[in-house]
């Protein structure tokens, strides 16, 4: 191998590591980061500053520190500092910015860093840059300073990076990060701390970029601010787009193609006139055109992201108990112990007793519910009294407001909303609304359009913060908490239009819904992948059962985005069942569902409730509600104006006036 080819290979290998860094940020997490090369630069500078010998630069800027740290120390420091810098930039920029603003912010950061380093001569020698960095093993190489032994080090670094990242990608952590890319709202709804996951991906990418930077500095043995313009980052993007976003092998191939292949081919383009830059110009125009072409014809790249296949056989095995039992098992979140992958469902009797049957409580939630009953009864009475007082006070101004009937059979309140208010500008979407949902009940929430139902759901689930008022869920104040924290408490929600993670498979969607129990960490993903897989086998078996129940098992390896609207609804139910909430908020589960499926839906909701899950459901289909719900809460103009069974509500003049009056009463 000639020295020339060794040089090309070394460049390609080091840039591949940098592309893998971008693949973590952009490919996994969907972070449009334009500062990538700034982190490469940080790695390069840290490596240089630590490893340079004293006075390797010509006077007057003779190098001051002269630490002469060994290669490995320099590399590790580069990784750590680049990661730490990523943590700072990410913590600021990932906070709440739109994707494009995030990109612009990172670009601003990169340019500020370039300006500051360019101006700052004492440590980094400004625009002159540093040179004379030591390259390990180069003196031993038969090919001289650009020699082959260093290529070996780079290849080893690439291999380690590649394997570690692949392992992480397949781990629960990688899956969670990809879910954030696909739909971060859904990730929040299923209890993921989206901000933290994004930040972790950003830091991980920064560490890898720092490694690339250290190797780059050691290879070139010089580094200055001209070496990391935003254009360098765009070339890495081009490599990733062409190779395949999200695919590590594609990233490496793309890098060799763009950074080595195109570079080399355009070297043979003759110079145009006296324009020394013509070769570069033609190369970059070509790369720009290739980005456009690949986004038009093959937007996922030459090697698209690999689907995570679930290889458990669909057939065989005993017929396991149905959804109801699964829900019962999942709903109580019994600690799953023991390494054996026994499906939790097998431990539960096949036919869970229907909710109305008297008899032994089917699980711990029931038992605790009974214990709590007495106390809660008092609470409910107090609440009713308060409501009555409030109703009396405001009755003067607003005759529609009726107190909660005091005599209703009082179960313990699972959810208690009091005096909740939320205004958007001058519009009070929710205005001093109070409602109470009994544990284990199936409660409807109705009201004309604009009554504040969806805002109420958003407030309860934490997607909006209330201006005032309290929300208590199972004895805990939850108002103003973040959605993922509320979800982790067991209060979950669905959305008007189902929010699946479209690019992930149906099975992955199910696995992301199951409680994570601390599995989604980088360390566990890296160090104990086998144990994680064993633990996950249980979840896979359960997910299979649930998918079978809703008829989606055959599609388990399909990207969820390919499902039809109805199938997405069914998947949503299966996901909620896998999540095992104690209370679920359903936002118009019937929207856009055909009549046959509607019946199916009703069944699923019923079985959910009979498994002990409390259900609060926004719905416009009144006969459907009447057939399902124990009682119904009516909202109008942002307030809850009445609660009762449908027949009670029909007799309530104010309700009919506010809502039912708009439809033919005979239909209701």
């Amino acid at each position: 191998m000639s020295q020339y080819l060794i040089g090309l290979a070394t460049t390609g290998v080091i840039l591949s590591i940098i592309t893998l860094a971008l693949n973590v940020r952009w490919g996994w997490a969907g972070e449009f980061d334009i500062a990538l090369f700034a982190f490469v630069a940080i790695g390069a500078y840290i490596y240089s500053v630590l490893t340079l010998a004293p006075n390797t630069l010509p006077p007057p800027s003779g190098y001051i520190l002269g630490l002469r740290a060994p290669f490995l120390v320099g590399v590790i420091a580069a990784i750590v500092v680049s990661g730490a810098a990523s943590a700072i930039v990410g913590a600021v920029a990932l906070r709440k910015l739109r994707d494009d603003y995030f990109g612009i912010t990172t670009l601003a950061f990169a340019l500020i860093l370039a300006l500051v380093i360019g101006q700052y001569t004492p440590l980094f020698d400004g625009y002159e840059g540093l040179f004379g960095m030591p390259q390990p093993l180069s003196s031993m190489s038969p090919f001289g300073p650009d020699g082959g032994y260093f290529l070996g080090i780079c290849i080893i670094a690439l291999l380690i990076t590649y394997l570690v990242l692949q392992r992480l990608l397949k781990s629960p952590f990688g899956r969670a990060v990809r879910s954030v890319r696909e739909d971060d709202t859904a990730s929040l709804a299923f209890g993921r701390n989206v901000y933290l996951l994004k930040l972790k991906a950003y830091i991980l990418g920064g560490c890898v970029a720092g490694l690339g930077g250290a190797l780059l500095a050691a290879y070139i043995t010089a580094f200055n601010p001209y070496g990391w313009t935003p254009q360098e980052t765009f070339l890495i993007y081009a490599s990733l787009f062409i190779g395949g976003t999200g695919n590590a092998l594609g990233a490496v191939i793309g890098t060799f193609f763009v950074e080595v292949g195109v570079q080399e081919v355009t070297r043979y383009v003759p110079q145009i006139g006296s324009n020394a830059s013509s070769g570069d110009a033609i190369r970059l125009v070509l790369i720009g055109l290739m980005i456009v072409a690949i986004l038009w014809w093959r937007p996922r790249g030459v090697l698209p992201e690999r689907r995570a296949m679930d290889l458990l056989a669909d057939e065989g095995g005993t017929r396991l108990p149905g959804l109801r039992a699964m829900l019962a098992a999942a709903g109580h979140r019994t600690p799953r112990s023991g390494p054996a992958p026994v499906p939790a469902a097998q431990q539960v009797p096949a036919a869970a007793p229907p909710r109305t049957t008297p008899g032994p409580a089917p699980g711990p939630a029931r038992a605790s519910a009974a214990d709590a009953q007495q106390g809660a009864q008092q609470g409910a009475q107090q609440g009713a009294q308060q409501g009555a007082q409030q109703g009396a006070q405001q009755g003067a101004q607003l005759s529609v407001r009726t107190p909660v009937p005091a005599g209703r059979e009082a179960g313990p309140a699972s959810l208690e909303v009091t005096h909740l208010t939320k205004a958007f500008g001058g519009v009070k979407a929710v205005d001093d609304a109070s409602l109470s949902v009994r544990a284990g009940s199936l409660t409807g929430l109705i009201g004309p359009n604009g009554a504040g139902k969806s805002t109420m759901i958003n407030l309860i689930s934490g997607f909006e913060a209330p201006d005032s008022g309290t929300i208590v869920f199972d004895g805990q104040r939850i108002e103003g908490r973040s959605p993922h924290a509320i979800s982790q408490l067991g209060l979950m929600r669905s959305f008007q239009t189902p929010r699946e993670w479209p690019g992930l498979t149906v099975m992955e969607n199910m696995l992301l819904a199951t409680p994570i129990e601390g599995r989604e960490t980088i360390w566990r993903g890296m160090l104990t992948p086998r144990r994680l897989r064993a633990a996950e086998l249980r979840d896979r078996v359960q997910a299979r059962e649930l998918l079978d129940e809703v008829g989606l098992l055959k599609l388990k390896n399909e990207p969820a985005g390919n499902l039809s609207g109805g199938q997405k609804r069914l998947l949503e139910f299966a996901r909620l069942a896998a999540a095992g909430p104690r209370l679920v908020l359903l936002d118009e589960p019937q929207a856009g569902v055909n009549p046959v499926l509607r019946e199916r839906m009703a069944e699923l909701i019923r079985s959910m409730a009979s498994a002990g899950v409390t259900v609060l459901m926004v719905e416009h289909n009144l006969p459907f509600l009447e057939s399902l719900c124990d009682y119904v809460i009516v909202m109008a103009l942002g307030s809850c104006i009445a609660t009762g069974s449908m027949s009670e509500l029909r007799a309530n003049a104010s309700v009919v006036d506010a809502y039912l009056g708009q439809v033919d009463v005979a239909d209701v």
């Binding site: 494009d100 912010t105 570069d280 110009a281 720009g288 939320k422 958003n458 959305f495 936002d587």
Partner: protein, 297 residues
Amino acid sequence: MSNFLLGIGFGLVTASILALATVPLSLQMSVARIPNFAHGEILTAGAYAAYVVNEHVSNIYLAALAAVLAGGAVAFLMNALLLQPFARRRPKLLILFILTIAASLIIQNIILLFFTGNSLAYKLPASAPHHMGPFLLTGMNLFTIAAAVVVMLAVHLLLKYTKFGKAQRAVADSRELAQVTGINSERIIRLTWLLDGLIAGFAGFLLGISSGTLTPTLGQGYLLVIFAAAILGGIGRPYGAMAGALVIGLAMEISALYIPASYKEVVAFGLLILTLLVRPNGIFAAPRVGGAAGATA
């Protein structure tokens, strides 16, 4: 004190150029909603077109006209050939953003191919600075400020009183709704890009004059300052963009009196980051109205 006033004078010149560069971006982002990374290249194209014409005819007004036309052509074609075909597939916003990055790469390097990377300079009649009250300004500076005021006024009249301006605001508000009421949204967007380019090309010409030399990265180097002004004023608010340009322009020039001038861009970028963190919708943004179901974080 007089130094400070001089700073304000330079600040007004910078703010004028910046306003001419920012208002079209903001207008485009309110109507077509594409964060345009190639906006700087529209400026560059304008600057180089003016250079070519000025070399041949040595007439500064014809040069300015060439800049306007070149900017308009580049922006119009970029939309018609690249962005609109992609936009019809309704891709994610980021894909469109990335396409503008590719466009920036292509346009910038085509300019590099034809004009080399060497610095070029306009041949301008010498123009000595005059004392204008407390300010020290050249004739070209005065022309810049006057041109900015005239163009801003014209944009205001266009938005407020013409049918096209009304249609633009309708499309900005809701493309679908505008379409349903008989407005050809795609046509409005095409014309908006054309207008964007016409004004930005002119801004490029003025930028070329004020910076003294032309390089293929002239506009890109200015891009983030433009974004800073646009975001400060609230993206998609042309009037906010004028105010944002004024704030950023003054902040940069006045800060240059107290810290090394090479850091004045850091001031702009710092304001950009600060705005995004504290008031991402701009300093003039009204509180958000309406809560969509399933609001995202």
